[in-house]
Subunit: 382 residues, 2 copies
């Protein structure tokens, strides 16, 4: 409890853009997010008053950070489980808890648990040897998708192989792996929900996530043309996973849509790129909702603020040419109503440096406005 | 320019709730507002990373603060004009500039300037002696309104007198005063606009501001039942004042509506309570717009995000009973879609500690939701 305000103190481990945007939401709730940042130039480190420097793998830093927090939550999944358990033993409240967070950290554990829940999923197997891979490929058909069990993100830690021989080097590296069938997907969807310790769950409309080179470039809300019954199925699946896994906070369930239905691709237990559109596009943003959830406040209205909302990620373009400040001038001149979120990151090619959100009535128009705005920031041209 | 982000640094003198909410908007634009706070417990001081402590009347503190800022702007009107001129002489960019800001600081100068512009206004006079007051009262009718030329806000520095004798003590105090006729007002309105150095101006819809005991308690957007021609007249008046006075940033023109038309009550050259509804209620909030304006970015879309938006101020209630945290729980349970903004202030009776905003289609419903939410936070009951 902050004695100056009489309001709880939430700590977030990790100082990236999710912490940055959670801090924005915390300000409205009368709070100031306490941030543990590994790097003083992290996006949240640049903007949060209540900042501590330290690495998320350093138990002493985590312990010092947690002192005085009413609840500690996460900007990413990379805090070691043993540290989380040690802190809990010392009386710290960490949410989501380690038993839930495991399924956001470890893809093998996630696949096993979802199988127990009979949640729709690709066929998969633990992968230790070339013989395992050979057998799996023969069974489900090549190419197959190999994933690092831990630590992957944004297409990193994911490979497609057309023969077992191609995977030789990876298999020899000692990386813990699983293998999955390559699902004949129509598109990718995401069902984002939030859950409180009390057990309340709130779901935003299901969205389509458009990927390029393994990175999400666009989110369309709601997912265009998704039949109501499939949208409800996806939301109910996400709610069931959140409840069975005892998730607290935001849970993003990344889904593949196939001709036959939906299957779960990944889980993320934190605010997620597929929910950035909610800042302006929904009555309650995922960042506010995550705070409400970990504080066990009643959750907020998830209904949309406009019929169509499109979020486009802004990736860093080639260096040189117009400065980011000049690009922003041009974008604001061209698109007066598109909302910009820059993360305070130096521009590097392919790095997510921000996102833009457009709202409106017509998908094609809104999508084009968002894409044009993202292009201005990335390439310095319309 | 912040070398870490390639984006400009905006400094705001004053660490109150306006700076707090401007910091929220700055985060989205990739920036981190630099705040000069007189008190470490100021609302913005609790949340902004780039904080300096110092008083707005201390030239050395202002000078140190301005160093490295691309532009310096204001959370309030109380920075001495001579300090602003001294800093400008040293090369600091301060916006709005002193020639504009004067009319937000000095009611006599404002009344004189508006008279030159033939802007509609109450009859008024400079007030030095009881004889001045006697003469003015006899001419326009009692009661009359007496205002301190400088330093008033929220009903402070404003008095109604029914006889000259009642003002004896005030007149003897040496306070610089003006006197105005008491306008037979139907209601109060506000026309809020923003203007950039380039000369671009953007106007939000005209709102009704509902006062109680001289304090704004509610803002209704758009002003219910206001004929289009009167709304346009008010917007054009605000645009003309912004342009003629060379205002940069947000300008709030507080208006009285009478049976015959509108007259100007006050000017504020900064984000203003009558524009708080724009955070969720308009495509561009007054805080983002103020930043865009002082940075000479093109201004953002001012259209409404819903047909009806109501903002209710939250005043501190009597101490004791439920904590503010418990009140927030109840409010969130009762009103899942009302947006809360708490300013990080300790609760004191009558002190503005936050505001709530409700959006919807029907004025009565939206107004009742906002009022109920404000009541939960003030009184701990529905």
């Amino acid at each position: 409890m902050d004695p100056r305000t009489g309001l709880p103190v939430v700590g977030m481990v990790g100082g990236g853009q999710l912490a940055r945007m959670t801090h924005q939401a915390a300000i409205a709730l009368g709070q100031s997010l306490r941030v543990l940042a590994a790097d003083p130039d992290d996006g949240a480190a640049l903007v949060a008053a209540d900042l501590q420097h330290g690495h998320h793998t350093d138990l002493a830093a985590l312990r010092a950070f947690a002192k005085g927090c009413d609840v500690v939550t996460f900007d990413h999944e990379h805090v070691p489980t043993e540290h989380i358990r040690a802190l809990i033993a010392e009386g710290v409240t960490l949410l989501p808890g380690p038993d839930a967070l495991l399924y956001g950290q470890d893809k093998q554990a996630m696949r096993q648990r979802l199988a127990e829940l009979e949640a729709p999923a690709p066929r998969w197997a633990v992968l230790d040897t070339a013989a395992d891979l050979e057998r799996f490929g023969a069974e489900v058909g090549w190419p197959v998708i190999v994933k690092a069990t831990r630590g992957g993100y944004d297409g990193k830690g994911v490979w497609a192989f057309s023969t077992a021989a191609e995977a030789e080097e990876l298999l020899a590296s000692g990386t813990s792996l699983i293998v999955e069938e390559r699902v004949p997907l129509v598109r990718e969807l995401a069902a984002v929900v939030a859950r409180s310790p009390y057990g309340q769950v709130a779901a935003w409309p299901v969205v389509e996530t458009v990927q390029r080179d393994g990175i999400c470039v666009e989110v369309l809300a709601p997912a265009p043309g998704l039949p109501d019954e499939r949208a409800i199925e996806a939301q109910q699946l996400a709610i069931r996973i959140a409840t069975e896994l005892d998730v607290v906070g935001v849970l993003a369930v990344e889904l593949f849509e196939t001709a036959d239905g939906i299957v779960v691709n990944e889980l993320a237990m934190r605010p997620h790129n597929s929910g950035h559109w909610t800042i302006e596009g929904a009555r309650t943003s995922q960042f506010e909702q995550h705070l409400r959830a970990v504080l066990d406040y009643p959750l907020g209205d998830t209904s949309m603020a406009a019929p169509v909302v499109v979020m486009a990620n802004v990736l860093g373009g080639e260096p040189g040419g117009m400065s980011i400040d000049e690009r922003l001038h041009h974008l604001f001149a061209a698109e007066t109503g598109v909302k910009v979120h820059l993360y305070g990151k130096a521009v590097r090619p392919g790095r997510k440096i921000g996102h833009v959100t457009a709202l409106g009535d017509d998908l094609d128009t809104v999508r084009e406005r968002a894409a044009r705005a993202a292009r201005w920031l990335r390439e310095g041209r319309a």
